[in-house]
Symmetry: C2
Subunit: 211 residues, 2 copies
DNA sequence: AACTATACGGAACTTGGATTCCGTTTGCAG
DNA sequence: CTGCAAACGGAATCCAAGTTCCGTATAGTT
């Protein structure tokens, strides 16, 4: 088959990503992503680049060729998580019970954070990264729809605004990583917050400062 | 050895702290604490030691003589905050309305964190420091009393345990520092959580794993 | 089989920040 | 007024990452 030539312009049937990469490069990129996902999930954002490289059975240089900066790598990983979040949101928008849909979305957001320390830290102290990723997948609009729908059905108190959902998610995330005696108790707090969101409201919320 | 000098009766009338320190040392120590308090409150835990020194109009060496380590300095500052928290807790234990007492304590804990970014970070990612400080002032017992009292009065749902109060405080703290669109909205979340704590419970909380 | 653009590995470099060191200054007891 | 231990200041040192560099290896092509 060496003679044929045919369509040689760039690789064809790509495995669904990154065009024009040499086979080994693609393989390594995947390895790096996989290793990083695991490491950052376990150790948080200060897992080290050399460790990522080692875990991926690759040299540091290779990691840096695919992700020029540690932040780029983090952003890439965060991006994936947000895609999952957005998927979940869309899924719950179809839920028979709008209220349960919203609750499950909240529970889900707490769970993925419980499973990924790096994500917690992004949510908790990287507004820029989080903002970018959220916007990229349209999470904001999705939250808004989730909220409106649950309010229309009468189960969600009327005075919450969509922005409060991501904020709650962040707050819950910060707690899932609790060590010591509090470890593993976070699901209880999720339910407490959910009860607080349920209509009718007992407290009148202070007026938000701006939009 | 120099002849003797024996034990010289430490100077009396100390201004209520650190015995046997030379006057200038005492003064500087205060300056360092004040400067650090401000800097860490504004910039969080990664404010730098040289900056603390500069702000205190003192050399780095001096900072280190009083606090051998950055962590020691942080722990000292955190200690002070926890003293305030404990005071507030005792105060609210006297409140006429047990439920309002608990709520005000929660609001207060959110507020001091909103005013001190460093404290938020200690609460959010320094279990050791926080644990130590909390224990030193007996905060745990105080939370327990606050909880029991509010449950006895029938306003606080029966299924929450004292440990959940500090956890809630941490979660709220993580949110007070929100930038961007969410900034300034945290008091609303505090009220939502409070509503979730109010009896009767709508959700049955998952059973805590251990004690 | 030879060729070359791509990729690779990982030692070396850079940086930012905590901490140390030591010559000088100062409070204060005698 | 002196003497000296207690304090000081801050340049210098150490260290832990992140990031760069460049000689070598290899996929894909002719």
């Amino acid at each position: 088959m060496t003679t044929l030539t045919e369509i040689k312009p760039k690789s064809h049937q790509d495995t669904s990503f990154e065009p024009g990469l040499r086979a080994d490069a693609r393989r390594n990129q995947q390895a790096v992503i996989a290793a990083a996902k695991k490491l950052f999930a376990e150790e948080g954002l200060d897992a080290q680049m050399p460790d990522v490289a080692r875990a991926a059975k690759v040299g540091v240089g290779t990691v840096y060729r695919h992700f020029p900066t540690k932040d780029d790598l983090i952003a890439a990983l965060a991006g994936e998580r947000f895609v999952r979040l957005a998927e979940k949101a869309r899924e719950e928008l179809e839920a028979e019970d709008p209220w349960e849909g919203l609750c499950d979305f909240i529970r889900f957001s707490a769970q993925i954070q419980a499973d990924d320390r790096g994500l917690c830290e992004v949510m908790g102290s990287r507004p820029e990264v989080m903002g970018g990723a959220a916007e990229a997948v349209g999470l904001e609009k999705l939250c808004d729809q989730l909220v409106k729908r649950a309010q229309r059905s009468g189960d969600l108190r009327k005075d919450v605004e969509w922005l409060e959902i991501p904020m709650i998610a962040c707050a819950l995330g910060g707690i899932t990583k609790a060590h010591g005696p509090g470890a593993g108790r976070w699901p209880r707090l999720v339910e407490i917050v959910i009860d607080g969101l349920r209509a009718p409201a007992k407290s009148k919320l202070p007026k938000p400062l701006s939009t």
